[in-house]
Structure formats: C-alpha cells, structure tokens
C-alpha cells in the first residue's frame, strides 16, 4: 500500500491545525458581534438609567402678593439658584388659576435645575466649589434628594432638561402607528391574498412580486421624499402630522407585511384547500373560512415585526417634518406631533450635557418597547407554530 496511516497522520497535523484555526476565528467573529451588543447595552444603560431619577428639593412656597409679581419671592432666597426655573415660572400661573392660594403657604418637593441634578448624579456640571458644598449640606439634611423621575413620563418636550419628558412622543408614536397599521395591514394582507391565492401566473403578477421585493430594500429616506412630494405637497396632508408620518411609514411597512403574509399563506398546505374545494366552497370562501384563519398567527407575527420596524424609523419622518418641538400632548391626527425616535434625535442635538442622559433614557424606553414587541411576535409564532 502506498500510504500508511502513520504517514498520512504526520501530514495531517498541519492541516488539522489550520482547520481548527477557522473554527476559532469564526467563533471569535460571533463573539465579537455579541461583544458589540453587550458594549452597546452597557453604554446605553450607563448613560440612560440616571434619566429615570431626578433631584428634588423640599421647600416652602409662600403665595404672597410679591410672588404674584416676581415669582422668585415665593421661595427662600437661598433656594432660587437651585430650584428649576420652570417650577418658579409656574407659580404665578397657579395663583392666577386658584385665587384661594393667595396668602397661604405650603411645603412641597420641587424639581431642581439641570446643573444641580447633574452634580448629584456625578456628571459634568458648571457649579462652583461653594455651590457644591452648599448642596452637599442640603443632601445631608435631607432637603435635596434623588427620587424616581415622574416628570420624564408625564410631560412633553421642554427646553429645560429637568422638565423634558417623553409623553408627547409616546402619544405621537401611538397615533402614527394607528395610521400606519390601519393602512398597511388591510392593504398588505389583501395584496398577499391576491398574489398567493388568486393571481394568474403572468407578467403583471411577476412584476408586482419583483416590485414588492424591491420596495423592501429601498432606502427609507426615499419614502420620506415620496411623503413630502405626494402626500404633503400634492394632497395637502398637514406637515408634521401623525397622518402624514403614518401614511409614509405605512408604505414602508407594506412590503414587510406582504412578504410575511405570503409566507404564512404558503405554509398552509394545499390539502386544506383541496378539502374545502371538495365540499363545494368557492375560492373566496376557501380563503376566508379556511386558509386565512390558519395563516392568522403568521400574519400577526409579521405585522408586529413590521410595526416594530416602523416604530424605530426616523429618516422619512424627518423629511415629512416630524421633528418639531412638541411640548404638549397631541390631540388629533392632523396636528403637528413627534414620535419617540424623532424625540431622541432632537434631544441628541441639544448641546446641554443633561440632555445626553434624557436621550439615552428615551432610547432605553424605546428599546424596551421594541424588544418586547419582537419577543411577543416570537412567542406568538412559537405558540401557534404548526408542522403540517
């Protein structure tokens, strides 16, 4: 025999080493991707978690005649530099709304301003040494403390960091998503049903299919250009409104829903259709009563994933003007509104250091929502997954 096992094994040593190297390198690549993710989340948590806390100061508020004219008079002089200006500014307003307040006083926790808040969280700030020691003393005495930041969830955007919250953006997101789903879900499912169950296999059908695959890969910003030119400039949909944003995102989500619905319809075996045809159902009855109910979990999963995608989208919304400064919660589909990712974008552009924390906090909320949505979709698929 020309080669003995020993000869071959000798030569193989080198090749086995090379082979093992590929395994380790590829494992390392996957590890690297995991590491990126880990670093990313660690960084976001590190930057964003402080946003859920806010420093408050316990102070006496005197609703006096002077305070109505100059609000700073309402609180002790030494606290004026600490309390948030937005709190001070709102005092005369409260007095005007409630006549009975005049002459009374009360003890209340007020927001402190951004600089002090940042100092207490150990971040970069512009306080002087004396100011810092003064605040440290107040913390000792329990007059100033960090507590859960309700404002972040109950207020809209604000130019002062301590008052800025995500409520307006959350409401805007919900409204925009309602528009998006209301348009893209029925049209998407109808298109998929047509292509999968009704369409003849001809040139037009193929053109529609290629076109849908292509739409799924078109940069999102181009959908923004479409929204601007067609919806806003041509049809006169109000700029910055959830309607304009929702319609634009609907077109973007459409291919996702169509593609996943088609996959769901395709996974329903033909034997079901044949059985239904066999008992005399018409094509539409087969689809309505047999195929669609069986495909529904798959359709829902795809739609949720599409929704999550649309929820994180920013670029086309910037183009249709949804980056406006929105301090108040929107009330209608045609008024200017903002959405979570757009709010994050706006905050990321603010020069103040305190807004970095707000941005990361908003990001954490958004990521939590998106990950739950995706996890829900996965669970839905797992629960209803059926092997035919």
């Amino acid at each position: 025999m020309s080669h003995s096992f020993d000869d071959i094994s000798q030569q193989l040593k080198r090749r086995h080493r090379k082979s093992a190297r590929l395994k380790w390198i590829s494992m390392g690549a996957l590890g690297l991707a995991g590491l990126f993710l880990l670093l990313f989340f660690a960084d976001m948590l590190n930057k964003g978690l402080p946003a859920f806390q806010q420093a408050y100061v316990n102070t006496e508020i005197n609703y006096t005649e002077e305070a109505a004219r100059d609000a700073r008079q309402a609180i002790p002089d030494d606290l004026v530099a600490i309390v948030s200006r937005t709190e001070i500014r709102s005092i005369p307003l409260q007095m005007r709304n409630n006549e009975n307040l005049l002459g009374t006083s009360e003890q209340r926790w007020l927001l402190v301003n951004g600089e002090v808040d940042q100092y207490l969280k150990g971040n970069r700030n512009s306080l002087s040494e004396e100011e810092r020691t003064a605040i440290d003393e107040r913390v000792e005495s329990g007059q100033v403390e960090l507590a859960f930041n309700r404002t972040f969830f109950t207020e809209g955007d604000s130019k002062t960091s301590e008052r800025a919250g995500i409520l307006a953006a959350v409401v805007g997101t919900v409204m925009t998503m309602i528009v998006t789903l209301a348009i893209s879900f029925p049209i998407g499912v109808m298109t998929a049903v047509y292509l999968e169950e009704f369409a003849p296999d001809n040139r037009i059908t193929q053109a529609i299919e290629i076109n849908i695959n292509n739409l799924a890969a078109i940069p999102s910003i181009l959908f923004g250009l479409l929204g601007l030119a067609i919806f806003i400039n041509f049809f006169g949909v109000p700029r910055s409104s959830p309607l304009a944003g929702g319609m634009t995102l609907a077109l973007m989500t459409l291919p996702v829903i169509i593609i996943s619905t088609r996959a769901a319809l395709r996974s329903v075996p033909d034997s079901i259709r044949h059985a239904a045809f066999g008992v005399g159902c018409s094509r539409w009855q087969v689809v309505r009563d047999h195929v669609l109910p069986l495909a529904m979990p798959g359709i829902m999963t795809g739609s949720i994933i599409g929704l999550a995608q649309a929820m994180g989208e920013t670029a086309p919304l910037i183009i249709v003007g949804m980056v406006a400064f929105i301090p108040d919660v929107g009330a209608s589909f045609t008024e200017a509104a903002t959405v979570m990712p757009a709010q994050i974008f706006t905050w990321a552009g603010e020069p103040e250091a305190a807004f970095v924390e707000k941005t990361a906090g908003g990001i954490l909320v958004l990521l939590a929502v998106l990950i739950s949505l995706n996890a829900f979709a996965v669970l839905l698929r797992k629960k209803f997954e059926r092997r035919w």
Partner: protein, 279 residues
C-alpha cells in the same frame, strides 16, 4: 496487510465473518475485518453484531430491503456516521492492523484511504480539472504542475471519462450529464489512490446506459481497489460482485460467493428476497 485469511474447505458452518462458499477466482487477502459491530441511532439499534471479512481487489455487494442497514454499515467503514450526532458504534472495524473506531484513529486519515462515491453525483462547484486535482493537491501528492496534470489525466482515464472531457477540463463539473458526473466523482475518488472505494447505490440516480458504463468501470477498477458497493438492484449485484452479503433488519443473513448465493442460497430469507417475495 499480508495476514492471509484462513481458507475454508467445503463446510456448512463457516467461521464467523467468512463467506459460506469461496469464489475460486477471487483474491482472498484481507482488507477490512469487522467483528461484533453494532450501531445505534439514539435508542434504535440499526446494526446488530455484524461479522464480515472484506477481501482486497474484489467487488463486494451489499444487498437487502431498504432500511436493512446496508448503507449505514457502508458508512461505518469510513466513519461517515460520525457526522450524525446521535450515532453510537460498538465493535471492531480493523484495517491494516488499526482499529478504525479507536480514539487515536484520525477519521480524516481513514477517509483518505477509504474513498466513497455517493448515490447522487455530487461534483464540487469547480471545474472538471479542479474536481479531480483538488484532493491530491491538498494531500501533497503532487508537487509540480506537470505531475498534477498527469495525475488528473490518469484518474480521468481510469474512470473512463478522459476522452469525453479532455477538451473541456475548465468547464464546471456540474455541466456534465448525470452519468458523466458520477464518473467524475469516481475519478475524484481514485485520484487520491485509496485502498478501498465505497459506493452507495452509485447508479440508482442514473439511466440504464450510464449504469452499464459504471458497472464496466467497477469491473476494471477492482484490479487496483477493494470495492464495496450497496445496491438495490439484485441483477447488478449478480453482474458486478465477487461476493455478496445479504442484510436484513440490521443483521447479515448470508455472506456468500455471488454466483452461489443467486443460484443456491443457503438461507430461506435470502431465497425469499432474491426470488422477490419481499423487497
């Protein structure tokens, strides 16, 4: 590998692993010795205490109804079953004085000496030339371009494909017809100069003419190699094999000289099978 197998005289009960009847023209140098080989897929036992001696420069055919374990057995000989995680093997498969299943046996080295041709032709997505030249080059069997060309031509000639492809060596292997692809796979296997070539139903995906070509080829190749082939087709076994082993439910029922087995089978089950009572 000169350990001569003991030649038996005419006996009704041959020793374990030996064929019932000797084929007088065949070579009887031992190539692979199998003793008490059992194999499990998870909890299902697929092979039960197999004993068989496979002889050099012979064609041995494995026949039997589907699911009887003949392909599984074939894959034990070059440890292709290692690729299936749930498989567990016990027993001895000995080649060239080495236990094939031993921990220190390198399965890559083993496969180099025990080549394999599959049911469906599976040429690599490379040119015809590269399909043949790739393995010898990786095994450092050739050092110069001229050597390589020579080796490729020789392997293709041995596989009876040279005349058909010599003008299109750079075309992809997949451009050939099914029968040509299968011969390319055989050329690929013999280019490595193995001791044994395993063939797993090599003609089941081919038309009758290609099948005949490959059968002729097997007849020529046994001058240089030990060939073990699995086949569904009893006529094929009768045509090409020196020895035939009949498998049934994971056991070897009968191992015999092919002519004897098909004319006067020793066991009732064998007779039932070859006379078409089940299959």
């Amino acid at each position: 590998m000169n350990s001569q197998a003991p030649i038996m005289s005419e006996q009704d009960t041959p020793s374990v692993g030996q064929p019932y009847t000797r084929n007088e023209q065949a070579c009887h140098d031992l190539s692979i010795r199998v003793r008490d080989l059992s194999l499990w897929y998870g909890k299902n036992q697929a092979l039960k205490n197999l004993n068989i001696d496979l002889f050099q420069k012979n064609v041995t055919a494995l026949i039997g109804p589907s699911g009887c374990g003949k392909s599984t057995f074939l894959r034990c000989l070059n440890r292709m079953n290692d690729l299936i995680p749930s498989v567990r093997t016990e027993g001895l498969v000995e080649m060239d004085g080495h236990d094939v299943n031993a921990v220190k046996m390198d399965e890559v080295a083993l496969r180099r000496r025990v080549g394999m041709v599959f049911q469906k032709p599976n040429p690599f997505p490379k040119s015809i030339f590269e399909n043949v030249a790739y393995a010898p080059r990786m095994h450092d069997m050739v050092s110069r371009k001229a050597e390589q060309d020579e080796l490729v031509e020789k392997a293709l000639r041995d596989a009876g494909l040279w005349e058909e492809v010599k003008d299109k060596l750079q075309e992809p292997g997949t451009s050939l017809s099914g029968g040509q692809q299968q011969r390319l796979c055989i050329a690929r296997a013999i280019a490595v100069q193995p001791d044994v070539i395993l063939m797993d139903e090599p003609t089941s995906a081919l038309d009758p003419i290609s099948t005949a070509t490959i059968e002729d080829l097997m007849d020529r190749l046994k001058e240089k190699f030990t060939i073990v082939t699995v086949t569904h087709n009893m006529q094929q076994a009768a045509r090409v094999a020196d020895y035939t082993a009949f498998f049934h439910l994971g056991e070897i029922i009968e191992y015999n000289d092919t002519k004897v087995m098909f004319s006067t089978p020793a066991k009732k089950k064998t007779e039932d099978y070859i006379s078409g009572r089940y299959g």
